[in-house]
């Protein structure tokens, strides 16, 4: 299984690079040079007290590679680790939070900071890599979200939510595991500043230094991993474009393609 996935990865990587280089030759010269110097996306992973804040330390590189390969976004492969007391927290475009186990409650000051961050344009993608509903990280995260947004519940996102259409049109949610066939989120007006998954997307993205997938995707295998990458890219694009895909001009195209 792992060998297969490795081969699959290499084949795709080879094709992608080949096409990318060819297209770059004909259409666009300086992108590969710029991508290293001027990234406009990076993961800022939230370090918290208690539990296990970093279940997939090697998740970023592969998803950033795919992001750069497939989209016009330039990303930084190195994640940044931050805390809720970090003065630069508000300048992190994408706050990532993951865990398996229950963590310590946030302090009132941390809650106020995170509420302000999320209410005024910040974005948080959180995932329960254990996938245990009502236990561990899931229980603690839901508790904190209720404290942060007492008037807004963490709800299952509708299938036409922008995050499912921001780059790919996504019908099924991938991940390292298949706990929920959907994402959850807290939506305020037309913007969902909090996205939550229990499917361990980062587990599906994680790759070791030799380019081998660290985790197997069950039960769907590489198709499920491919879905995890697509959803990851969609989440990143959503964090940078908001509900752009809800603009009227996109409707007929998306509807037509959904009906194919």
């Amino acid at each position: 299984m792992k060998t297969s996935s490795f081969k699959s990865y290499n084949r795709r990587k080879f094709l992608s690079l080949g096409l990318g280089l060819a297209a770059g030759f004909f259409f666009s010269g300086p992108k590969s040079l710029l991508s290293a110097s001027f990234p406009n996306f990076f993961f800022a992973q939230l370090k918290y007290r208690g539990g296990e804040w970093d279940p997939n330390p090697q998740f970023a590189e592969a998803i950033i590679e795919e992001l750069e390969l497939r989209t016009s976004i330039d990303g930084m492969k190195e994640r940044r680790v931050t805390t809720l007391s970090d003065p630069d927290l508000f300048f992190c475009p994408f706050l990532y939070m993951a865990g398996k186990y229950e963590f310590d409650p946030f302090t009132p000051q941390e809650r106020e900071t995170l509420t302000r961050f999320l209410s005024y344009g910040g974005f948080l993608f959180a995932e329960d890599t254990m996938g245990a509903k009502g236990f561990g990280f899931d229980q603690a995260f839901r508790r904190e979200m209720k404290q942060l947004f007492p008037d807004h519940e963490l709800r299952r996102l509708a299938s036409d939510h922008s995050v499912y259409q921001s780059f790919y049109i996504i019908g099924s949610v991938g991940g390292c595991q298949r706990v929920n066939p959907y994402l959850e989120g807290i939506t305020i007006d037309n913007w969902t500043p909090v996205l939550y998954s229990q499917n361990d997307l980062s587990g599906a993205w994680a790759r070791d230094r030799f380019g081998k997938w660290i985790n197997e995707c069950v039960p769907g295998g590489e198709v499920q991993r491919s879905g995890a990458f697509k959803l990851g890219i969609n989440i990143i694009v959503y964090s940078l474009t908001s509900d752009y895909k809800k603009d009227v001009i996109h409707h007929p195209f998306i509807k037509r393609r959904q009906s194919l």
């Binding site: 990318g20 666009s28 710029l34 016009s72 300048f91 921001s166 780059f167 998306i254």
Partner: protein, 741 residues
């Protein structure tokens, strides 16, 4: 002298007078008895009678008797001759007469027995001119009298004349206001002038048009056309802006007189003040041409500011700008984000992509005119746009559109904009070597121009809490910008000489960050960073909310689109502008946040008439801060240009003033005269009747009489005193003779 002509006015109460008389009578009886013993009955009776007579007369003084004499007099009837002098009287009268006024003059002064002279012989005649008001005129003024001014209100005039005259003679064509008041105090005999059967005219009687219209939305204008004598004719009704025909509609006249309404519609494609005209071509035999056209003023505004934004890639800059623009309900944003370039691979079938084609042909050739502002955000054009598209953008800006270039690394190597139409319109040049600098953490500061520019001159409620209250307004603003978070990346640009730098880097070389300029009729802006979103989150991090960033974006958009809401001077025209000869007042408001107290005191207001000549105008404060009232008196119809100047800015508006003859319905309205006569108990006289005879008949009915009454006190007459003294002297004489004295 008759007894009924004597009246009494007692000086004491009657009972007192009777008491005095009783006492006098009693004393006379006592005297009679005393005298009878000495002089005998008859002599005593004679002396007592004389005494009683004297006492009676004296007591009668208290009754104060007066003699009233009455004399009956005849009064010469007063006739008021009312001569209509309004503008419609200048229209042709009966055949042979140049005008209806001339027809009236001839009626009064010409012929074998001129009416004015004949009436003056038997009556007291007063001559009045009836225009907008009543004016007494002398006979010698009659020859030089002209038809001018608006029609008068006869009901009001009647109130002035009532009680002073017996009869009013009205010479008019019937174009008078009359509220059908039933008053018989002053009968009005009416003499019709002009001939309604021979009158031919087409006029625009009324125009119903909104004073405010939205660009791109259909505007309906209802035109009411009245016609006399053109049955069966089909008329074109034209709507023009200057000499440009906007629309036309044919309207058929089915009767005479008749009123028809034509609805004209057009779609304004530009914002601003529109001076429109509605006209009907002159027809053969028309009496009056000036009422065939009407000027009207219409302000065209945008219902929404339409923005086309193209982003080179998904970014925080895009998302926060989008948030700001979407946050404003007056903005209609159409944005395209380049999600993938041709060099990116897309490893899924079409139905799994949400990407849509970038319709450059439609956007930059066909639809560009429908936008107010075009924003390129970190966008490298060569993969998508041809030089022809860039030329189209240049023409869009030259024609009045706005263009903003937001910086970022994609503009490296000039984004290949140099030597293109975009390079021509941009307010900046790219530095020669290094085009984009990253991770240098550069702060920004307001330039001298930025302190006063509408984009960066944020209101004090936005920036006011950054420093102490004692600081000046500009100090607040300078401190506010210094507190803004530093930028992580910016483009190294050089402002063109024609550009204005509003923000510049605060550390080291002052690189321009926010630069603006004009190009053609449009405005251009360059923001040399893709990190302006840090101004949003930086203020949020400090707990100061996102208001400043939203206001900055709002003011950038409004400045680029020349939104009048950002003008430091606002002019509010009256809803109804009136017509020539009527004073017009306009309201002028200066924006508090844009003008310092020194500037507020330097406001001037001037008006140019349709000939371009400056006319007298007034300006006074209304009492409310920054508000003024400008006024002027237009002497004729046409387009007036209003100019308000401050030392910081100026604003020009134009307004249409209706001419005196505009919409004039000069058709003789003899039915109106019949109503006037019937309501006042007068008579409508036809020209075939003997006017003098008819008028005299009415005048006699009103012939007046009065009784002169004179009152003189009886005691003032000498013979009464002689009579009293006579009684006393006779008594004294007989008393002496009979030895009583």
């Amino acid at each position: 002298m008759n007894l009924d002509q004597i009246t009494i006015a007692p000086v004491f109460p009657l009972w007192l007078i009777l008491l005095l008389f009783s006492l006098g009578f009693a004393s006379t009886i006592v005297q009679f008895r005393l005298l009878r013993r000495r002089l005998g009955h008859s002599r005593a009776l004679g002396l007592s009678f004389l005494r009683l007579g004297a006492i009676s007369f004296l007591i009668t003084f208290a009754l104060n008797p007066s003699l009233v004499t009455k004399k009956e007099h005849k009064v010469l009837p007063a006739i008021a001759i009312l001569l209509d002098t309004s503008q419609s009287m200048g229209q042709p009268g009966r055949p042979g007469k140049a005008s209806r006024l001339e027809e009236a003059k001839a009626l009064l002064t010409e012929g074998a027995n001129p009416l004015l002279k004949s009436l003056s012989e038997g009556y007291e005649v007063r001559l009045y001119g009836v225009g907008e008001s009543l004016r007494a005129i002398e006979g010698k003024e009659l020859a030089n009298l002209k038809a001018e001014g608006m029609k008068g209100n006869l009901s009001e005039i009647l109130k002035e004349l009532s009680g002073k005259n017996t009869l009013a003679l009205l010479l008019s064509d019937g174009n008078l206001e009359w509220n059908d008041s039933q008053s018989k105090n002053l009968p009005i005999v009416t003499v019709p002038l002009g001939s309604s059967g021979e009158y031919k005219d087409i006029l625009i009687k009324a125009v119903k048009a909104p004073p405010l219209a939205f660009r791109g939305r259909e505007v309906m204008i209802d035109v009411t056309i009245k016609s006399y004598g053109y049955t069966g004719l089909t008329l074109p009704v034209l709507l023009k802006e200057g000499n440009k025909l906007l629309t036309a509609k044919n309207t058929r006249i089915n009767a005479s007189p008749s009123e028809v309404t034509a609805s004209l519609s057009f779609i304004p494609d530009e914002v601003g003040q529109k001076n429109l005209s509605i006209s009907i071509p002159q027809q053969f035999g028309e009496s009056l041409v000036s009422n065939n056209s009407v000027n009207l003023s219409m302000k065209v505004v945008r219902d929404k500011i339409r923005i086309l934004m193209v982003s080179g890639n998904p970014s925080m800059n895009y998302r926060f700008m989008r948030t700001a623009l979407k946050n404003d309900p007056s903005i209609d944003l159409l944005s395209f984000v380049i999600l993938r370039t041709p060099s990116d691979i897309l490893n899924v079938p079409t139905h799994e992509q949400s990407l849509i084609p970038f319709p450059v042909e439609t956007l930059f050739f066909k639809e560009i005119k429908n936008f107010d502002l075009l924003i390129f955000d970190n966008f490298k054009y060569p993969l998508y746009l041809s030089p022809h598209h860039l030329e189209s953008i240049r023409e869009f800006v030259r024609g009045g559109g706005g263009f903003a270039m937001i910086g970022g690394p994609n503009l490296v190597n000039e984004g290949r904009y140099a030597m293109t139409p975009i390079g021509e319109i941009l307010p900046v040049r790219f530095a020669e070597k290094e085009n984009y600098r990253r991770d240098s953490k550069v702060g920004v500061r307001l330039s001298r121009a930025g302190v006063v520019h509408p984009i960066t001159r944020l209101s004090l409620d936005t920036v006011g809490d950054t420093v102490g209250d004692t600081a000046g307004d500009d100090t607040h603003r300078l401190s506010f910008w210094r507190e803004m978070p530093s930028l992580d990346g910016f483009n190294l640009l050089e402002a063109k000489s024609s550009a204005t730098v509003l923000l510049e880097s605060a550390d080291g070389i002052p690189w321009p960050i926010l630069i603006v300029s004009n190009y053609g009729n449009g405005r251009v802006l360059a923001l040399a960073t893709d990190y302006s979103w840090k101004w949003y989150m930086g203020m949020v991090a400090k707990g100061k909310g996102n208001h400043a960033y939203l206001r900055l974006m709002d003011r950038m958009v409004r400045w680029l689109t020349k939104d009048p809401g950002l003008d430091p001077v606002q002019i509010t025209l009256p809803e109804r502008t009136g017509s020539a000869g009527q004073e017009i007042e306009i309201r002028i408001k200066l924006r508090e946040e844009d003008l310092s107290p020194n500037l507020r005191s330097m406001v001037s207001f001037s008006v140019l008439n349709p000939d371009g000549i400056k006319i007298e105008s007034g300006l006074k404060p209304t009492g409310q801060s920054g508000e003024y009232l400008g006024s002027f008196l237009p002497q004729k119809g046409g387009i007036y240009k209003l100019k308000v100047e401050t030392s910081a800015d100026h604003l020009e508006e134009s307004m249409v003033v209706a001419g005196l003859l505009e919409s004039l319905d000069a058709s003789p309205d003899h039915e109106q005269l019949k109503k006037v006569s019937a309501s006042t108990g007068g008579k409508f006289l036809s020209r075939t009747e003997d006017l003098l005879k008819e008028i005299e008949g009415y005048a006699r009915k009103g012939e007046g009489r009065f009784i002169e009454e004179k009152r003189s006190s009886v005691w003032a007459r000498p013979f009464v005193m002689v009579l009293v003294l006579g009684f006393l002297i006779v008594e004294w004489f007989f008393r002496r003779r009979w030895g009583m004295v």
